[in-house]
């Protein structure tokens, strides 16, 4: 496990995540009103990138078939996805947002 840099805190826009690739894993990092949250960027239904989806009220909607996930907990909220997405711890170190994987 290691901490990975994402971007300076001030570079984040609400509702637009930043994506970091670590080996095989793609991680999407969101800024919400209470902090930064990192989840796996890949929908658990078929294959789509959640970072390309619509994001609102702490939820992200898959751009293909509209399964929704809670960004804070990774929980899937409706079909057609049925498996939660992975979440990763985040922190801000010296003004830079990081996640642990």
């Amino acid at each position: 496990m290691a901490w990975h840099d994402v971007a300076p805190e001030g570079d984040f826009l609400e509702e637009i995540p930043k994506v970091v690739q670590v080996g095989e894993d793609r991680v999407a990092v969101f800024r919400l009103d209470d902090g930064f949250y990192a989840i796996s960027d890949v929908c658990t239904h078929e294959y789509a990138l959640l970072s390309e989806g619509f994001c609102e009220d702490g939820k992200v909607e898959c751009p293909l078939h509209q399964a929704c996930f809670d960004i804070r907990t990774g929980k899937v909220l409706n079909e057609p996805a049925e498996i939660d997405v992975e979440t990763y711890p985040t922190r801000v170190e010296g003004g830079v947002v990081q996640f642990q994987l």
Binding site: T44, P63, L64, H65, Q66, P80
Partner: protein, 400 residues
């Protein structure tokens, strides 16, 4: 309370599972004619043809998952009749099963070509997993595949087949691709993807007869005779509503149902693609041939079965995937709309605007992020100035 659901497809599964979620005590029997446990059909003309054996997109659960939910699933059984007076269905094997409520979720079947020669073994349709496997087994490099119909399924099959090395010709009676559901400019783009991949598209080209010869099928068209090894017929679907009609339930190209799925008989409901559903906003009954209706209209049905009201009133939405590109179609758009395009690199939002400046429908290419904002814009029904709709610095979410 015992509910019998006829048809173990997507809408049948959804109705059973949603009902179980609402009422732990309900006795639920799901009866289906196919040998497979329920599955979603979209992957059949996409991932399955391209060789992915078990895409998660099928949403297929095994028999144990139904046991765990206490849904009695009986497969390989066709319901042959409904006796409304006695409140029973009869299976092909002659068994009579009583119900308190009945849900007809029998879906639709592929329409056959009503021309001579269409009964040859080399003429196929695509509706079920068995059909998809049979088609896939025959799509070999070099095979000459003809597809009748340039609708969603025909074009998805053409895209998969050309990627598998087949020589593909699409024969369409009309003038353009997917004419029923997208504006001309989108048809043009989609046609360009196919032509770039090597698919031959023939428009204004009805197929009038098939001459099965030992070496090939000779397809007689208005442009002459085309030789093919295999013909896939993809010219639309017919609702499986005969069962309901014969029982005396009101049917009119689909089972007539209110927004809760109730049919003309108080104990009988219709779910999914077989239903022609009352849409208050449109002021008429509409039958949808989409994943969306099979997924979400059962919410209305399951609630109604429990005495609650959750009328179905969604903006129609469906999609197609071809050559790795995703096309989403929102709203039911007739003629008379002006189409404005917002383009951002590879992403496109094409907005159908009426004379008053209201967005009535949209087509998105690789741009699913905009589906929800657009759904809201369309639902709001407010005129929006053209400049704002086209201004790339104004996000669609700001307009809803």
């Amino acid at each position: 309370m015992r509910t019998v659901i006829v048809g173990a497809g997507q809408a049948g599964r959804r109705t059973a599972e949603l009902l179980r979620g609402l009422d732990a005590g309900h006795d639920i029997l799901l009866l289906g004619e196919e040998a497979e446990p329920p599955y979603d059909r979209p992957p059949l003309s996409k991932e399955i043809l391209l060789g992915e054996e078990h895409p998660r997109g099928l949403m297929q659960r095994d028999a144990e998952a139904y046991d765990a939910q206490r849904i009695a699933l009986r497969l390989g059984e066709r319901v042959a009749g409904i006796d409304l007076g006695a409140a029973r269905v009869e299976t092909n094997a002659g068994e009579r099963i009583a119900y308190d409520s009945l849900v007809v979720a029998t879906g639709a079947r592929a329409r056959n070509l009503p021309i001579p020669g269409a009964d040859d073994r080399r003429v196929l349709t695509l509706r079920s997993m068995a059909d998809a496997r049979a088609l896939r087994a025959r799509l070999r490099p070099g095979l000459r595949l003809a597809v009748a119909g340039a609708g969603l399924i025909g074009l998805e099959v053409a895209a998969a087949a050309i990627q598998l090395g087949c020589a593909v010709t699409v024969l369409e009676m009309g003038e353009r691709a997917m004419a029923r559901c997208v504006p001309e400019a989108i048809s043009t783009r989609i046609e360009a993807w196919h032509r770039a991949a090597g698919v031959v598209l023939e428009f204004g080209c009805p197929l009038t007869a098939i001459r099965p010869e030992s070496d090939a099928l000779h397809l007689v068209t208005s442009r002459g005779v085309i030789a093919a090894d295999l013909l896939l017929v993809a010219i639309g679907a017919i609702p499986n509503s005969e069962l309901a009609r014969e029982a005396g339930i009101a049917v009119e190209d689909g089972i007539l149902a209110d927004a809760s799925g109730r049919t003309s008989h108080p104990q009988v409901f219709a779910a999914g693609e077989v239903a022609r559903i009352w849409q208050e906003a449109a002021g008429r009954h509409i039958r949808f041939e989409t994943w969306q209706v099979a997924q979400h209209q059962p919410v209305a049905v399951a609630n109604a079965l429990c005495g609650a009201q959750r009328p179905y009133a969604e903006l129609p939405w469906h999609w197609t995937d071809q050559y790795g590109r995703n096309v989403q179609i929102l709203g039911a758009h007739g003629a008379g709309l002006d189409w404005l395009e917002r383009e951002d690199g590879e992403r496109l939002a094409s907005l159908g605007v009426d004379a008053e400046g209201r967005v009535q429908g949209a087509v998105l290419i690789d741009n699913g992020r905009e589906a929800t904002p657009l759904r809201r814009i369309i639902a709001a029904g407010r005129p929006i100035e053209r400049d704002r709709l086209l201004d790339p610095s104004v996000a669609l979410r700001q307009l809803c």
